[in-house]
Symmetry: C2
Subunit: 245 residues, 2 copies
DNA sequence: TTTTGAACTGTCACTACCGACAGTTACGCC
DNA sequence: GGCGTAACTGTCGGTAGTGACAGTTCAAAA
């Protein structure tokens, strides 16, 4: 079973971290599997829009231009379901459930891109979300069988690649977080502040003087290098310095 | 190849969402794979400690008591590496890299638990982290081969189970977020507040009067059902209502 | 033993925030 | 035309947050 062997070899390469270049990863995937196109997207929510952090794909500039010019991201059900969801999203399933997204699939057929595929959600820390979309060029029944056999391979490969992508780029934050170590009291006070308590209330809750609460808060602001309690709380929540209520 | 068939069948069951009971999932996994024990942990960071949200395992009450009474969580390298990391963590690798965690493995051997296994990080939204630890009872070289063949199965199964666990319990937050829809101006003002800007500064930045900034802030506090700007920002960051800087 | 860090407290003056009062303007929709 | 919603503005009075002054106590590390 040489195909199985190739798959296992490829996963081993990925696990050893030997692949951080999206182009390299895409080539590896297309060589190993019967994949037509791949798309890797990392984004974060912004109000009800999405802010794209990383985007790599093999669909080509023309397809990207079509997608952008027709504002297909507004109706793309893959984005809605995969970014925010946790289960693999089948393209035809999404097409079926969201009739309003038909222009997307029509556009795909126009430029000769298959409408068969699956999108794997890749949940990330700190509210970010990512997905790997896999596009295949095969009949529905064949894809059904192929998917059943290889979804696990896709999932592991996607996870390992995503891990590599996160490791490269999360380096910058690592150092700054090191200075952000808060003492237990500072954390407590900050947590209550994030819960909307005033200095007087926090002092009463913790059984200390109001002045001391202010003292801890001042230290926290200094450590976090911020100018207000509000900003301190924003930072703390983002860096998971205080518990999520 | 009946084993392969059994694996694929099992993954299909998981994907169809037919398994949300940890005990059921563990039984299914042990029946399908040569697994000795399983542990599922969902936690969130709290200062430099961890707050456990969900914990299910098959190690038994005695092992749990040993773990707790000897405070082995303080030295457990699996926790450190898997919760917060993104790659699968090999137990023997962790043991090798962290000599101070030897008491953990000694304790495992005392009560007859194998020291061979792998922990799969399952990153979750909103700063939470989860892991599925898999413990096997086989010689190192056999495990090496077995792991190579089935890591992808473990990963997909873990992801699907974790997805099911998240879907049950994240229901509570879904409704409250619906009321939290902020207008574009409210989002802007809140974003600047989270950046530590005062009303006067925000007014200057947006080119509106300070009074108007306060007006938007008041609406935001009402919508978010909070009592202070600080609490509003904490809520907003947690629910990704404003962008991560 | 000295030093370091964390936890704790008091006062003063200033600025920022917050609620409640009472409005105007502009846009889309039935 | 009326109705709802979002964006916008002014004033007043009270409370909360902020920085700078100047300390004590305790335990652990050097």
């Amino acid at each position: 079973m040489t195909e199985q062997q190739a798959v296992l070899d490829m996963l081993e390469i990925l696990e050893c971290g030997g692949c951080v270049e999206p182009a390299h990863f895409f080539t590896l995937m297309r060589r190993t599997f019967r994949i037509a196109h791949l798309l890797y997207l990392e984004a974060e929510p912004y109000a009800d829009e999405l802010k794209v952090c990383r985007l790599h794909h093999t669909f080509g500039a023309y397809a990207a231009e079509i997608y952008r010019s027709r504002a297909l991201h507004r109706i793309d059900p893959i984005l809605k379901l995969a970014l925010g969801g946790v289960r693999p999203v089948e393209w035809t399933m999404a097409r079926h459930r969201f009739p309003e997204c038909e222009p997307l699939f029509v556009a795909a057929q126009e430029i000769g891109i298959s409408t068969e595929g699956v999108a794997l959600p890749l949940p990330s820390p700190a509210g970010r979300m990512a997905l790997l979309a896999i596009n295949v060029n095969m009949p529905a029944d064949e894809w059904s069988t192929y998917r059943r056999h290889h979804l696990r391979d896709f999932q592991l490969a996607a996870n390992l690649f995503h891990a590599a992508m996160l490791e490269h780029g999360a380096m910058a934050g690592a150092l700054s977080v090191r200075d952000m170590r808060l003492t237990s009291r500072e954390t407590e006070v900050l947590t209550w502040a994030a819960a909307g308590k005033s200095y007087w209330e926090i002092a009463t809750i913790l059984g200390i003087s109001e002045r001391t609460v202010r003292f801890f808060m001042t230290n926290t602001r200094r450590k976090l290098n911020v100018v207000s309690n509000t900003q301190a709380v924003a930072q703390a929540v983002r860096h998971a310095l205080i518990p999520t209520v």
